[in-house]
């Protein structure tokens, strides 16, 4: 608990989060809080402070939160970025697999899981349970006991504990994969009893479920109010999942309409999550928009990677997140994700939309694929 070394700043953030993720934070309030977070991180995170100093940025000369230097996600794979007492860390989350070819996994030292939980639950409520639904959460992600260093497992386990109605459960284990029979039985029962459910999982796990249903020629009409949350479709691999195709499959096989399919966009390096806004829009009586957004304590800039300045609204750029829940590490994160601002938030674009792969020169993930080790 003593990981965060500024208890009053921690308390301010917790209080803000506990007030819920429904009301936006006004610009001045966000700016003030973001600058305080930056000042805290500059003072307690020597690596990040050095990174900022090299760019001539320090808390006392900072104009505005948009000038806080954003640390590229690759940096989290090279160094432990901790703002506070690392020895008192609650957990270290790690990314799965290799994304840099040097068998390096991204690490996120979470000093204080209370902040993580305080961001997670109201945000999930705001985007997935905007209609105040109290429904079982059926997880296609392993428990956190089975995968202690997975932030996704922690996330889903916490949600099941805090907001999952009776009947919630897990249907994937690391050793045996998807327990398709048991899950399908649970879904059939929900359909029979007209009890809506929420399915949470990686896109890949959902695809396994759908393949299984395809094999046995099964179709389900999950009851009205059922919804699903998927994540991990856009990892930048060459064999990308086409979101439109997947959406159609969810509807066809599970009967979950597009507006109740909520894609989650998060990363190991960040405490907070972002979601499709459609379900929340419909619950608020709006037309569903094709956009993603996060909680009020997270703001996303779309920047030109050459200048690192925000691009004109609506232009394509690279996403830069400022997540104040990241108090214990680095709040300003520079991703390599292509996107643009749209009504309701931002739109995530697939890697290299339209760009042809290069020919006889070679880049890392191509290289690994060439050698048959994708």
């Amino acid at each position: 608990m003593a990981g965060i070394q500024d208890p009053s700043l921690r308390d301010r953030l917790l209080a803000l989060m506990r007030a819920g993720a429904d009301r936006p934070l006004d610009d001045d309030a966000f700016d003030a809080l973001a600058r305080d977070v930056f000042a805290y991180q500059f003072a307690t995170n020597p690596i990040y402070a050095a990174y900022c100093r090299r760019r001539g940025v320090a808390p006392d000369t900072l104009d505005h939160w948009t000038a806080v230097p954003a640390l590229p996600t690759a940096a989290f794979k090279e160094a432990r970025l901790v703002s506070g007492d690392a020895a008192a860390a609650d957990v270290v989350f790690r990314t799965s697999g290799t994304t840099r070819g040097r068998e390096r996994r991204g690490e996120h030292v979470v000093l204080d899981l209370e902040l993580y939980r305080a961001s997670l639950v109201p945000t999930f409520r705001a985007f997935l349970l905007a209609d105040d639904a109290a429904i079982p959460l059926l997880s296609l992600v392993p428990t956190r006991e089975a995968q202690p260093d997975s932030s996704l497992s922690f996330m889903v386990s916490t949600l099941i504990e805090t907001v999952g109605a009776e009947g919630s459960g897990f249907f994937v284990t690391p050793s045996h994969g998807l327990a398709a029979d048991r899950l399908l039985e649970a879904l059939r029962e929900a359909a029979r009893e007209r009890r809506p459910v929420a399915l949470l999982g990686t896109t890949l796990a959902f695809v396994h479920l759908l393949e299984r249903m395809q094999e046995s020629d099964e179709r389900l009409e999950l009851p009205e109010g059922s919804r699903l949350m998927d994540t991990g479709g856009f990892k930048g691999r060459r064999r990308q999942v086409d979101p439109a195709a997947i959406a159609e499959l969810y509807e066809r096989f599970l009967g979950v309409p597009r507006a109740r399919q909520v894609n989650e966009y998060g990363m190991t390096e960040m405490c907070s999550q972002m979601y499709d806004v459609a379900l929340r829009d419909v619950a608020a009586g709006r037309e569903p928009r094709a956009a993603k957004a996060g909680p009020p304590w997270l703001r996303t800039l779309v920047v030109d990677p050459e200048t690192l300045e925000p691009v004109p609204a609506g232009d394509v750029g690279i996403l830069q997140h400022h997540d104040l829940a990241n108090l214990g590490s680095v709040a300003a994160v520079q991703t390599e994700d292509l996107g643009r601002e749209v009504d309701g938030g931002f739109e995530l674009l697939g890697r290299a939309a339209g760009a042809p792969p290069r020919g006889c020169s070679i880049a890392l993930d191509m290289l690994l694929e060439e050698l048959g080790r994708a």
Partner: protein, 469 residues
Amino acid sequence: MRIFEAFELPGAAPVPAAFGETRYDDVLLRWPRFEPADVAALAGALREARQRALGPGSGERVVAAIDGAARLLAGDDAGLREEALELLPATTRWSPAMCELVLDRMIADWRADRLRELLRRELPHPDALDRFVDVDGRSLRAVGPGLCLGVFSGNVPGVDVTAIVRCLLVRSAVLAKTAAGDPALPVLFARALRRVDPGVADCVAVTYWPGGSEAIERAATREADAVVVYGGAAAVESLRRHATPRTRLVSHGPRLSVAFVAAQALGDVAAADGAARRLAVAASTFDQHGCVSPHVAWVERGGAVAPADFAERVHRAMVRWGEEVPRGRPRPEEVAQIRQERAAVEMREIAGTGARLFADQRTDATVTYDEDGAFAPSCLNRFLRVVAVDRLEDALSGLADVAPLLQTAGVEAPADRVAELAPALVTAGFTRISDLAAMPWPEPWEMHDGRPPLGELIRWVERGPNTTQ
């Protein structure tokens, strides 16, 4: 919006009614949507034209036609050259200066003197493609494929035209499918050819279709005698699947190159600066997208200039050369990669591991320095990794995993040191050993990925001693 018809077909070939369009900034490219059923007629027209124009004795005619086209592109046709220099920056995203540099170096290889030199070096006798010739008492005849299908990769414009040129030199007709990365230059070359010699030009069809279009690629592969493909493993594999037992598949798949700088090359500051400049240019030419472009440079300790100091010099030289030949406009996700890779090195630098990052605020010149020999590919677009080693030979074991992909070893060292290192480079898998200055520009007759450029297209027929009179 400028419109460019990105195709050139033989006179007798029917043009499909439907067209596709691709937009590159303010240029709109139109290309015919070929159906598989159209391919047979196109192939037929190409083969007929070949019978008429590329038969025995046509060698000089072919050389003259290519040379004439090259001269038009070089500037004899100012309008054509201007068109090339307008289209290339838009389609390749390279700077105008880079486009001009590469265009002119490529054109030089399509001029008669170098074409003749290539033929002289590849063929044991000048008439070998026309008739049986006597070679050391053997009777041999060289035969090129009747029809080649060329499938190109577009990372370096001009490589595609050189491939077409090679097919013509061995008297093949060519159906050339351009890549999205260079849809224009082969078309302009074919048009220039038509201005000089329509009969030879009728042996060349240039068009575009989206890569991986299964049906048309199958049809085209089956019509061809040889398929010449430049591209990634996926492209090569998909064409291989369509091939029949009689298809000759000539593939130039993905390759990577690296540089080696010996301690002896760093005997003083002047020598180091010269080497730094040559390395910077090798890494910056083609914006590092050539198969000949070095991803990593291993630099030996023990010279008068230490490897970290040398890395800094390379960065400065890269920035200076960038003022003459600026880097192009990579896509945002490519620039984002540069930012990511820089941050990783910067973390190591801040941690005091000895790593260094040499970079300005702009992303167009990056040199990183590390003291560990592990190989990692570059994210390209002028991002060079410099790694210190005690001895250059020590770097080679780290390349074992990528051995099948190795192409050029660019070596900066005195001749005796190169001779000493060469056997290990051979074992490591390199197919070309070059000095840094020549690294970006192999001669047209050099072995290409370990094979002779014309030889890999040729089928030899041998007549036994008792059959010749």
